[in-house]
Structures are given as C-alpha cells and as structure tokens.
Amino acid sequence: MHILSSLWTTSFLLFFALSVSSVWALHESEAGVVDWQKTFIGVPRTDGPRSAPSFLRMKAKGNDTTSLIISASERTLGAVNPVDGSVAWRHIFEPSHPILGYYKSGNVVATLSGVGGSVLHVFDSLEGTIIHEKRLHHSQNGQLYSQRTLGVDVTFGAPRTAGHEAKDLFVLTNGQTVHRIGGTRGDLLWSWTAPEQTSLVILERLTVTDSTIYAIGLAKSFASYTLHVTALSAETGELLTTQNIPSNIQNGSDDFLMLFPPTSEDPRLVWIEKGVVRSVALTPKLTSKPQSLRGSGNTKILDVGLSKHGMFIVKKEDGSATVFKLNQNTFESIWDFADSATSSKYSDSIYAGSVDKEGKPYIGRMYWSFGLQAGVLHVFTPHLLEGKGLVSGFSFPFKTDDNGIINHYALDVVNPDRLKVLSRIVVTTTTGAVQLWLEEKVQWTREESLSTIAVAEFVELPERKAIQSGTTESEGFVGRVLRHISDAQGFPQYLAGFVKRFATASYASVSAAISHDSGLHRDEFGFKKIIVAATEHGKIFGIDSSNGHVVWSRVLGLGPVADAGGLIVPLKMFAVKTVSDGEAPQVVLLTALRGFDGTVNTVVYHINALTGKDEANNSPKGDILQGTVVFPGQPSEAYLLPSKVKTIILLDSANNIHLYPHTEANVQAFAELAPSLRFSLQTSGHTLHGYQIVQGASDKSAFSAHRTWSLSLPNNEVVGSVIRPAQGPIASLGKVLGDRSTLYKYLNPHLFAVTTVSKASADGVCSVYLVDGSKGSVIYHASVASTRGTCNIQAELTENWLVYGYYDEDFAGDHQTKGYRIVSVEVYEGKGVNDKTSSSELSSLSDKTLDIHFYERSFETNQPVTALAATLTKFGMTTKNMIIATKKNQIQSIPRRLLDPRRPKADPTAQQQEEMLIKYDPVLPADPRLVVSHRYEVANVRKIITSPALLESTSLIFAYGLDLFGSRVTPSGTFDVLSESFNKAQLVLTIGGLTLAIAIARPMVNRKKLKERWFQ
C-alpha cells in the first residue's frame, strides 16, 4: 500500500517536474530512424551434434512443410529462416542454466539446460513458444562431468494414444536418471534412477522402441570403458535387465552409436574397439551375442544422423571413409568415398547426413581444397542409379580471409529430378559466422560473433573534403577558363539548393535518418561515427553507428601460433589517431594471444578505423590482419599516454614497460612525463597496488613500474571489477545552489571505483569503493549484502558522481524490502557549501584530498541493471543521464534529476525548487517513456559505451551483449537546434510581407507629410 501510494506520488511529481522539458521521450516517428538494433542467436556451439546448427523440416499451416535452421549457443536457442537468414524465433536461457543440447522431432524442439540437465524445455519449432517446461532436479543436485554434455539425452517415443500428435519424451539426466515426460502437458509419467552400486556407470544415450527403452552407458574399468546397457519398460519404467557388454571402448561416447535398421524391430548398438567394428542387437532380455564386422584397421565410426536408415561411416587408418548400411543383421559397405584418405592437397573431410522431404537419406563430404582454394562438397545419394548410389559434387568459393575456417556444416538436399541433386549447406566458421550456401552461391551470412564483442570504441569520421580541381603553376588562360567552367557545372544545383534551403526549412534534421550515400564522412551533426568492435572470435568489425551496418571486417591473424592455433583475447582498444590529427583515424587493439601450445603473447593490431587497413604494414594485401608481437607473455595492463603523442604504455607481468609504437619521439615524450605518472593494478585477490615509473639506472630508455602503495581490502572480498572514470570535459567545477552558494565538486583526477565480490559462498559482503589512485586512500566505501555469494554490482563513475546498482536481499524487518537498488552518490569538496579545496589540482601529498563530504540516495527499481553508463557530450554542459540496460532486455535513459542524490526528503523549499530538485521518492518510476529502446529487444547487454556528437545536446550510445543497439539521446532536449515544428516558411513570409508593406506605405506617408506642411 505504501509503495503504491508512493508510486502515485512519484508519477504525479514526475508529471509536473518533467512536463517542463518539452522533449524527453522518443517520438514515434523517430523510432527506428535514430536508432537501430541487431538480433543475434549467439555463436553456435559446434563441439557436439546436439548444439550445432541443423535443418529441421516441420509441418507449417496446411499441408506445407517448412524448414528452419535450429542452432544453440551457450545461452540461446535460435531458429533462423534459411531463405533470408532472419531470426524466426529465439529463446534466451538464464546464465545459471546453459544449454546442454537441443533435440528435435518435427514440430517440437526440446532442450536440456542447467547442471546435469536440470530443466527440460519443449518448444514449438514453428513459433518458438514454450509448450511445456519441467524442472527435473535442483541444479545443486546436478552431476558435473568432465564434459558438460555428458550424461544427458532426450529421445522421442511413440505417442501414448494413437492419432495423437505429441510424442512422449524420454529424458536422461545426470547420467543416471531416466524420465518419461508426457508430450502434451509435460507431466512426469515415471522416473527411474540407477541404483547406487552402478554409480560407476554413466548412462549416456537413450534408445527407444515401442515397448522397451534402452539406456546405454559406459562403465569405467582399467584404462578403458565397457559398454553397459539397461533395458527399461517404456510403459512403466520398470527395470527389465541390466548388463555389461564385453567391450573395450577407448574414446568414450565417440566410439559407439545406435542404429535402427528399417527392417528389424530391435535397435543395434555399434562400437569400435581396437580397430574392429562390433555390434550387438538390443532385445529386452539382452540375450544377443556381439558380432564383428569384417576387416580391421578402422579408427573411427561416425554417426551422421542417419541411424534410422541404418547408415554410418567407418574411417580407416589412412583417413578414407566408407559408408556402411545395416541390412537384415548384416553390414554392407555401400560406398567408398574416393580420395578421402588424408592428403596434403586437401584438408580432412567433414561428413554430414541429410534426409529429404520424401525421407531419402544423403551423405555429404566436405573438404577444403588447397589447390582450388575453395571448399568442395560431395553428396552421396544412395537411392539413385537403381540403388547403386551416385556422388555429385561442386566447389564453392568460401573466403577464408573473411570468415576463417569451416568448423561445421549441416546439409539439406532435394532431389527434384532423376539425376539432379540440389544441396544447400549451412556453414559455421571459426570466426563465428553462419553462412548459407546454395550450391556454389552464398545466400546470406550472419556474423554471430558480433554477439561476443569484447571491446568497442567510437571513432569520429573525418569531414568531407571540399573538392578542388588541381591548380598547376603552368596553367594557361584557356585551361583556366575550362577549369572554371567545369567547376561551375554544379552551380545551378547549388543555387537551387540554396534557394530551397532559404525559403523552406529543409535543413538537416536531428531526428531524420542519415543519408548513407555520402560514404565515410561526418554528417552535419556528427551522429555518424564508426564503432570499431573486436570480438572474441578473432574478428574485428567497423560498424556504422547510425544504422548498424558492418562497414568493414577483418580476421585477426594468429601470427606466431598460426600453426598451432590459438585464441585471441581482445583486452583494450585505443584511438591513437583521431580526425583532429589531420589523418585517417587509427585504433590499436591490444590482445593476449593464447596459443593452443601453451604460449601467450601480447599482440597489438594497428588498424585504420575507416577501412580496416593494417597501419603497421604487417599483413600482405588481401590477407588476414597480422599484428605485432610486443612482448611474449600476458600483458598486465595497458594505458594510453595522456599527451599529444599518442603512445600506448604496456606492462608485462614483470612490471617492465613497453611502448607502442616504439619510436624515438614516443620514448622522448614518455620519458618527459614518466616521473609524474601514477597508475594502479589489481593483483589477484583482495589487494590493489599503486605504481610509479622509474627509469633504468644503466639503460635510460628502459622503464619499469615501482610499487608505491598497497591497499588491502578485507580478506573475504575479492576485487571484482575496477571502474575507471568516464572521460569527458568537465563544464562546471561545482554545483550552484538556490541561494547561489556553491558545492564544489570533488574532481580528484586519480579517482576510480572498485567493486568486490564475496569470497564466502553464503552471507558474504560485497563492497563498492572509491579509491584515490595516487595514494590508495579509500574515499568512499559501501557494503552491500551478497545474494548467495554473488553480488552483481554494476557501477559507473563520472566526474564526482558514482552510481551503482545491485540486488539487495538484506531483509531484516518490517520496513525493509528485498529488491533491485540503484544508489547515487555525489562527492563534494570540504565540509559544506562554499568550502573549496581545489581538489582537481591538489598534489597527492596534500592532506586536503580527504577533506570531503557526500550525498547519497538509494532508489528501488523493478529490474536488475546489467550495464550502465553516463551520457557523454562534447563540452559536458548537458545534463548527464544514466543509460541503463535491464534484465527486461530494454535500454532506459534515466534523467539525472531522478537520480539526484540531493533530492530532499521533505517538500522542496523555494530555493530547492529553484535548483529544480524534486522530492525524494524511493521508487524509481517504471515509466515507459524512459525506455529508449522502445519495441526492440536488446538482450543480455554486457556494456554500454557513449560518445559525444558534434551537437552539445546529443550523446550517442551503443549497447552490446547478445544483441546490438545504437541510438542517440538528448538528456536536456535538443536545445541547440531549431525544433522540428519551427515554421521557417511562415517566418520568411512574415518578413517578406512586412518588407512589402513598408515599400508600399513609405511613399504614401511621405506624400502625407508633404501635404501637412502645405496646409499648416
């Protein structure tokens, strides 16, 4: 009741307070024009058949069938339309419940998520709606195996009642429990758990017949595994038999597969041991004897998803592959793929199966041909040529420079004509791209790696250069006249444009879309910038900030570990040249290159931000982007030298300092500033260290960091994140109050914020600190209760204003509530008003740096904050709004007036009203007008970055996470441009009319004056 009433008061107050400013919500006409959003489904996991992309054919409305590409990433299950690559639907899972795998059957897709498969979701595969959801066990009771996806499986049984569509699900979780779930309502029919003594057995796969369900597991024995089969009654879940099958499995679940021969009732278990393929038919009594396939020297059996057709692939030692088919209890080799042995001319082949509309199977083989520099796909069609089988193939020009290497593909084949086989493949690459190829043409590409952006930076575009014809000294008269004539060609258009612009109000409008034909040039208001974004999948993108289109992209080279392979971890990005330097803007991406051979190198990539060109000239033209190894080992931190010469300071783990670019001028500039530089590092655990830079005694050009202070936080806290202050001009040194006294802002340039996480698993404490980075003193400290050991504190520091959001579970009495909090803190100099210590220019040795006071207010929100950032404008005069991303997948712009920590608890006095302070209300309103992302869903936002436009009123925002979102906000309204409703035509007409009236009236008045003289 109290909250309700306060909500009313807030909205009432808000109405009055905010109706003053004319524009503070997004206009409908601006939605989709000033902002953009890109939806992603995440980079598909290709490490198992249960999550990689695959085609799913399903019944659509009527009798048609339609197909979608289903793919699962860590936290997203998505369906992509194969025609245009758009997202048909997706479902995002909680971070605590990552997807273990998806299992599809016609119009139903089931997923298991969480530890040991704790939750089962069943989706309608056409619409993506959840049909039912079932928690099978508590995540705490989940079994963690070495491989995440071990010990879980879902298989679809026959429907219980004939004629009913929904098939029952048999679900294996935790490697020991089998459930039968009703297909229609998701009710648990029965559940069977393996008895304790067989806990050495991990059940891995389920196979179902009409009457019996077989759970195939692996029992650990000396140095290998033994197959273990449990037969359960499908109807009741009653244990029929359980038995070890004498076998010797080396590679776990990769070494066995199930086949359903079309002619036989009983499924068949096939495995490989010591180079020999063996099989056994599964019967309810488990009485069959295993038998061996002729021939040895086999290394691998591959399940290509055609078990229902009894087909699988056996690979020999030399890499050559043979298709086997089970016919009447005998295996028959039906096809040898020619030239499939391992060779230096082409890469290892990837095999995939497909079933067309009529249910006919196909097997594809794909490899990369080094000779052709193209991908090659062979499709084996068993039923053609009277059952002899036919292989058709084509090569497709896959671009490794743009998309890396093919990790996985899924095949979809149609056989429209007797000898015609058309195939399309969906390819997943190492750079996280998902591409659809129809034969040798690429239909669409989804850059899913954009959902894994690690660092991003706004880069300003250069102005369009006025075009000037070349003037040469030796130009003759005729040449000169001709040049002028050619220059004057555009004059009529210019004149027409000028008249039109003068007479009507067709100026560039702040709420209009930016024209995109102008190329890479700044627009009138500076809304168009390039966002350079480096992803975790070794690709860097240049994104147009006005519409989200990818302008350029480059694949990052692995340099020293090119052969071994490795992972590029982007750490920081610096703008080393901006347009104000008179050159094309350049960025430097700092990465840690972790080779799979165990080496770590610090590599920088120096890139032209407009084109993606390598500025360090490491990479040959047309090749992938190669970086520069600065030093071997992991970098501990990197900074940009705050001087005219843009130099990057890198620290290695031994605290030695490296400069990039390492030029004489840069070393000189650094040496000059070095004595006054201070920085701090967070070492593992709960200690922060501050450093100063010392010059080498013998080698004057060698610098290293020398520790000056240490700050030990309480033992049960671990440093979670360090929040650096937002960089931007500070327009005002203080806050002027209603009586014109001043609260001087505490603008210590060394200030940064630290959030900690609790070390204790329960009932711990997390904290927020403001630390003076020059000497390690704590300026502000707040403890928040941890929620079951985790504190997801999000914080932002700008000027003297710290805002942090967390979940408060501290529930002690009647007057407390659990909930999501946002706390706003402002630090001011001295003890009160007019007390000035000039904090921004104080030496760190001064004792006045601790002479502060602060204001604090805590607010309740209805949504957890996943990221927050303050708006940034060119001169810093515009009010700073907080841009927050919420769990509701929205981006909100919260006015500073709502978050002002000086909001009075009583009714505001006249002086406070003069300051535009509104009465404090603990509840931040859930006002839809604050949502800048309007209808868009912006999921799992990890970070928001802001950048100033040329207009002081406007700040550009870019939020990235699973989705990308770009927009622009005007916290104080567009005060520096004429409003859209300004009627220039009316103004021009009025002035014209008055001029005309004067011209007519002047002679009349003159005449009248003259007459008066005469008659006087």
Partner: protein
C-alpha cells in the same frame, strides 16, 4: 512673440485697491527700512526649501519601498522598471545637484557652486544613496547581484594536478 509690457509709470499715480499694500517700488523711501527683515525671511525660506529638497528622496522612501513590495520578487517588466528607476534616479539627482539647489542659493554666493548649501547637498547625496541602497537591496532580493560564490563559479579555473593518473 510679443509680450505685453506692464507700464508701471502709467499707473503709478493710481491708488492701490482697498486692502492692498502699495507697491514697494512706488515707495523707494521705505526700501531702506524693510530690506533687512524681508531678506532675512527670504533667506530662511530658501534654507527651509533647500532642506526640504535635501530630504525629499528620503521622504519618498516608504512609498517606494511599498511599491517594491507590491511589484513582487519576480524579474518582470514592472518590477524591473521600478528597480531601474531606483538605481538610476540617485545618479541623475546627484549629477544635477547644483542646478537643483540653485534657486535656493543665498544671494551673495554663486548659485552653481557646490560649496553653497554644502550641508544640504551632503544630506541630499546621502538621502539619494539610501534610495540607491533600497534599489540594490531589491536587486539582491531578486537575485540579480553577483553576491554568491555561484555567480563567480564560471570564472574559476583549475590547473592540472602535478601527478597524472593513467586510466
């Protein structure tokens, strides 16, 4: 323009109407007798009038204060008009001080000199200053005087810190 001149000589012989004293000019013999007394009273009247003038700005103060009160605290055309009047009239008055006091100057002294009626002029200046003070008070209460630190904040500057933090 023609001005009709009164020819005194024409009517000199006529007796004055009943109850009217004869013109002084007609009795030059009495001039020597009456002049000192009359001059004294003139001088006294002049001094009195001079004092009246000197005190006049102070006398109008209550009325002006009331007008200010009525005009309100907001910055609008009416209150600004009154405030400008209060601010400018003292300067105007002081600038024209010698002319204003010239009619009351005692006969022997030079009427335009600042030294004549010195005390009255000083009082007049002081009284005008009270008007000015009232105007300034009004300005202050309307928040138009740069009295607070906040009014000078925009002119404050800060140098860089001797240490540079890398962020």
């Amino acid at each position: 323009m023609s001005v009709t001149k009164v020819e005194y000589s024409k009517w000199k012989s006529l007796p004055p109407p009943p109850g009217f004293a004869p013109l002084s000019t007609t009795r030059p013999s009495s001039k020597a007798v009456n002049t000192p007394r009359q001059a004294d009273s003139y001088a006294a009247i002049k001094v009195k009038r001079a004092w009246d003038l000197a005190m006049s700005p102070a006398k109008s103060l209550p009325m002006q204060a009331f007008m200010l009160y009525m005009s309100g605290g907001g910055v609008q055309i009416f209150s600004m008009g009154i405030v400008f009047m209060l601010l400018f009239s003292p300067f105007k008055n002081v600038a024209a001080i010698n002319t204003a006091f010239a009619p009351f100057a005692p006969s022997p002294s030079s009427p335009k000199s600042f030294n004549t009626l010195f005390i009255q002029k000083i009082v007049y200046i002081l009284a005008n200053l009270t008007t000015l003070a009232l105007g300034l008070y009004k300005c202050n209460s309307m928040g138009l005087l740069p009295m607070g630190t906040g009014d000078w904040l925009a002119f404050e500057t800060r140098g860089p810190s001797p240490e540079i933090s890398l962020h």
